[in-house]
């Protein structure tokens, strides 16, 4: 029988471009120690350690083996789950599954990446089929989403892209763990280095080093560990078959067909949500570039195409708005890939707890949603709640 599952501990590193001062194990250990401290637990209280990242970024085969020294899995149960960008979401789902199964009471999910030790675009390009697609694969910086947004909304799209980046920079400046913490201006965004037309440097996420750890526990344990458990109400994973992103993006029915919308519809149906913007208090979204947030948010939130642009323009998604998006600063300011999706869940949980510090949103957060993106348009959604489900 399924048991209720709560997040009881959260830890992350100060995400940075350079961490020559630590090796992977030491970096992971920083987040593990922080999460244990947050939960007021010791490593002996943990039953199981789930580990994830993307192997070909750093070139360490099955790094969970080496990382035992830092993640505390010695003589514990555990496993390694990897699904690319969604990895952090997958290990959060797996942590939920482990506790809900009744076999484990306290489970730790460890997502990490140390991207300075490899080459991110090479790692991502190796995702494409070696026979058919690999020579065409561009890595993460693909201009199609931005191009279609500009096709449909013209200059307005570029203005909103800058607004999203300004908002993320403003939020990140308040988040001590964020990587790019500088506030940026419209002019800085508009004049930043062109990566791939029309994507500019400040539209795009950075390559970060960092780790994030989540400790989840059964209802019984959670009650003893914390006064502020954050409940995992539901999670939905939606993969898509492999193909070039460009092929996907040319579909006429993209909005209905994309995994973001399919995943969101499942989550909302199972949890009786009809108007997500009104019924969910906050959204931590995995947006590798501002353009993707602008397009995908329509799909996630069941909006008409371009509906989200208005929300941004009206300040609805600001930290003090009625539907804050990425109060942490989001992925555009911080992206240690294997940790990124887990950070979304962690940040959503911090907001529900009211423990986000300087980047705590103004409104009370009772329910929050966190998304993960990876692979060929794969999506995971987590729905968290303050109330026990």
């Amino acid at each position: 029988m399924a048991r209720r599952v709560a997040i009881v501990g959260i830890g992350q590193t100060h995400h940075q471009a350079h961490r020559e001062d630590v090796n992977q194990v030491e970096m992971v250990n920083e987040a593990v120690t922080a999460a244990l401290e947050d939960a007021q637990l010791r490593i002996k209280d943990i039953d199981c350690v789930l580990h994830g990242n993307m192997e070909l970024f750093e070139g360490v085969h099955q790094p969970d083996m080496w990382h035992v020294d830092g993640d505390g899995a010695y003589l514990k149960s555990g496993m390694r789950l990897t699904t690319g960008g969604t990895t952090g979401g997958t290990i959060a789902c797996a942590a939920y599954n482990h506790v809900a199964s009744g076999l484990f009471d306290t489970v730790m999910a460890v997502g990490w990446e140390k991207q300075e030790e490899g080459h991110t675009t090479t790692g991502i390009a190796a995702m494409a089929d070696p026979l058919w697609d690999r020579r065409l694969q561009t890595g993460a910086i693909s201009g199609m989403t931005a191009a279609t947004m500009i096709r449909d909304f013209g200059e307005r799209a570029g203005e909103v892209a800058a607004m999203v980046r300004i908002r993320d920079g403003e939020n990140a400046s308040r988040n001590p763990y964020a990587h790019l913490r500088n506030k940026v201006t419209r002019e800085e965004v508009m004049n930043s280095y062109m990566l791939v037309h029309p994507i500019r440097l400040l539209h795009m996420c950075p390559q970060s080093n960092g780790a994030c750890v989540l400790i989840v526990a059964s209802e019984e344990k959670a009650g003893r560990i914390t006064e502020k458990p954050v409940w995992v109400k539901d999670h939905v994973t939606t993969h898509m078959e492999a193909m070039l992103n460009e092929t996907i993006l040319m579909r006429d029915d993209l909005a209905e067909w994309a995994s973001m919308r399919v995943c969101a519809r499942k989550l909302y149906k199972r949890n009786g949500i009809t108007n997500p913007v009104n019924e969910i208090d906050l959204f931590e979204m995995y947006d590798p570039m501002v353009w993707m947030e602008m397009e995908w948010a329509d799909w996630f939130l069941l909006l008409e195409r371009g509906g989200y642009l208005k929300l941004v323009e009206d300040g609805v998604t600001d930290r003090n708005g009625s539907f804050p998006v990425n109060p942490s600063g989001g992925v555009v300011t911080t992206n240690p890939i294997g940790a990124t999706a887990l950070i979304r869940v962690a940040e959503a949980a911090l907001q529900i707890r009211g423990d986000a510090g300087e980047h705590q949103v103004d409104k009370e957060v009772k329910t929050a949603m966190a998304s993960a993106f990876g692979g060929t348009f794969w999506t995971i959604l987590h729905l968290l709640s303050k109330e026990r489900p």
């Binding site: 083996m65 990897t82 078959e241």
Partner: protein, 385 residues
């Protein structure tokens, strides 16, 4: 809990040293298609089909970031949930059990595939699993690490190369009864000892060959398992455990992690005396000494008694506790796949469908998988009918 998880279908390919005609997706598709046909299940989410897919694959072995991507369509991962365990396949079966017990999914497909023939060298890949700061530069890989472990094990407990060689002789002999086995032959201890030395004391016939293959299974809630098959095999216990990484941090002659993993699985399955209560075991030994060491870790004999166990012939076909009637990993099962193959073989034994390798009256079986160097991570599943 009060819930049980049942395995309702299993399939495997023949294991071969090289399968150049098959791309990874085609390889994975073979056992997947078979388990779909056996059950009549489809990839649906209306509660009538498979609602969760787990792949055991690995980015290094497949030379591909997100190695589950190319088999997405094979496992029905379109608009549906799928996850990847990038470890030995036994971990994937264990996770499927957990995912079903969680109540989040009812019916799960598990598939493991690997083509060890693709990389230029198996050791090149496993070398990358070692700490790049301290140990990788020494040139250590899973084979040379295993040689260190074998030497330490033999030294501490007086195990002989002959006793290890007996494991190879038994494995290759049993493999003759297994139509899926890669290599099967009649060997003598002398043949094993005189085969080409790879890393002392491991010679060619003490080590598993490069292998390609895939296997798959479908697991379901108790209620659905009973509807899907007349002969469900129940997962009565699961347990896994990590050991420390640096070889110098542990006494390589003892397998603390396996003892712990087994303890967890036995506790869940209510097994008090494994040697008596388990009818057949399929365990993952990539090198001959490992079957002896893992037998100790699993409690099939006392510490240091692995050599005596093989001498007693209790683990041969017809013995009290047959180990690896299929031949096990030594005649050839690829990494990532090997542990799931063990589960598949146990299911066949319990259903009485193991053909010439059938162990009579098998009611409780133990499947074991391992990942990492020198058995750093062990998974144990107790199956029953």
């Amino acid at each position: 809990m009060g819930q049980r998880v049942g395995i309702v279908a299993v399939a495997q390919t023949k294991y071969e040293g090289s399968k150049p005609a098959l791309r990874l997706a085609e390889l994975a598709h073979q056992p997947v298609r078979e388990v779909l046909e056996q059950t009549g299940l489809k990839y649906t989410e209306d509660g009538t089909g498979i609602d969760f897919s787990i792949c055991a694959t690995d980015d290094f072995w497949d030379a591909m970031t997100l190695s589950d991507t190319p088999i997405g369509d094979v496992v029905g991962a379109h608009h549906r949930p799928a996850e990847k365990v990038s470890q030995d396949g036994a971990q994937a079966a264990l996770y499927a059990t957990i995912a079903i017990l969680s109540g989040h999914y009812d019916v799960a497909l598990v598939v493991a595939h690997c083509k060890e023939s693709q990389p230029a060298s198996r050791n090149l890949i496993t070398s990358c699993a070692f700490c790049p700061v301290c140990t990788r530069i020494l040139g250590v890989d899973y084979l040379s690490a295993a040689a260190l472990q074998a030497k330490r094990y033999m030294y501490k407990y007086g195990i002989t190369r002959e006793q290890c060689a007996k494991v190879s002789v038994k494995s290759y002999k049993n493999a003759k009864n297994n139509p899926y086995a890669q290599n099967a032959m009649a060997l003598t201890v002398g043949d094993v000892l005189s085969s080409r030395m790879l890393a002392y004391p491991i010679s060619t016939l003490d080590a598993y060959p490069v292998s390609d293959g895939a296997c798959a299974m479908i697991l379901a809630t108790e209620e659905k398992a009973k509807r899907l098959t007349d002969k469900p095999v129940w997962v009565n216990g699961v347990g896994n455990c990590y050991d420390c990484h640096h070889l110098g941090d542990r006494d390589l002659a003892d397998s603390d992690a396996l003892e712990m993993a087994a303890k967890r699985a036995y506790k869940m399955a209510g097994i008090k005396n494994p040697r008596r209560e388990i009818d057949v075991a399929e365990i993952s030994g990539q090198y001959s000494y490992q079957e002896l060491m893992w037998s100790e870790g699993l409690g099939f004999c006392g510490k240091g008694e692995g050599g005596k166990l093989i001498d007693s012939r209790a683990t041969e076909m017809g013995g009290k506790l047959p180990i690896n009637p299929s031949g096990g990993v030594l005649p050839g099962n690829p990494m990532i796949v090997a542990g799931l193959t063990r589960v598949v073989e146990c299911v066949l034994q319990l259903k009485g469908e193991a053909g010439a390798r059938q162990v009579a009256k098998a009611k409780t079986a133990l499947a074991h998988g391992t990942s990492g160097p020198c058995g750093q991570l062990h998974s144990v599943l107790i199956l029953g009918i």
